[in-house]
Symmetry: C2
């Protein structure tokens, strides 16, 4: 299970092998997962999501914010610092992602078998 969660970030995985998608776009599920351990800054999110361009990452963040899954906080003093964090609703959604990942990992071999033939 933990292995699968990590594998979500593999090159082939998002929206190709996982049989589901959270949010309207391709990366929302991963963005939500990146916030599981607490608030993160934009530049911190870019590390695990290195394959996502800033434009697309911004789009995902805006969409998730609009839907109430994450909260954006901006402070300008002493330096510019923008943090994103899950709302209660977002944490609930994250749990659903976990459940889906658990189910997927239990049936991973069946999924791969079906793909091959």
């Amino acid at each position: 299970m933990e292995a699968l969660r990590a594998d979500m970030f593999d090159e082939i995985c998002p929206s190709t092998l996982l049989p589901f998608r959270i949010g309207p776009d391709k990366w929302s599920a991963l963005v939500i997962k990146c916030l599981e351990d607490g608030p993160r800054r934009f530049s911190e999110l870019r590390v695990p999501l290195a394959r996502v361009t800033p434009k697309v990452l911004t789009q995902s963040l805006r969409a998730l914010e609009r839907d109430g899954f994450i909260r954006r906080t901006e402070e300008t003093t002493p330096v510019r610092r923008v943090t994103y964090e899950l709302t209660d609703l977002g944490r609930g959604l994250l749990q659903q992602v976990y459940l889906l990942c658990d189910w997927s990992s239990e049936h991973w071999d069946e999924l791969l078998d079906a793909r091959e033939s």
Copy 2:
């Protein structure tokens, strides 16, 4: 909950309000749901999925078949008859769809509230 499941077929709903998507394409979740009560023929699926053109419906069915979620059975005698039915894997996926729908319905008002502001 039952209301939400019905609402999945509403004009505005698929991939616009539901915060998830099953399968690579827009209609897979609904196709799977249409097979919940047993095998269905192509023309039977077209009734609840009236807004899906045959081409797109075929694409969804092929993708779901390739991934092992549904099974396609063709018989030519006495008449041409093609039926689609969920595999065990597909039934499992349907359960996951139900869980997501249940969660969504519990937080429906929060989702709508966030959308408005």
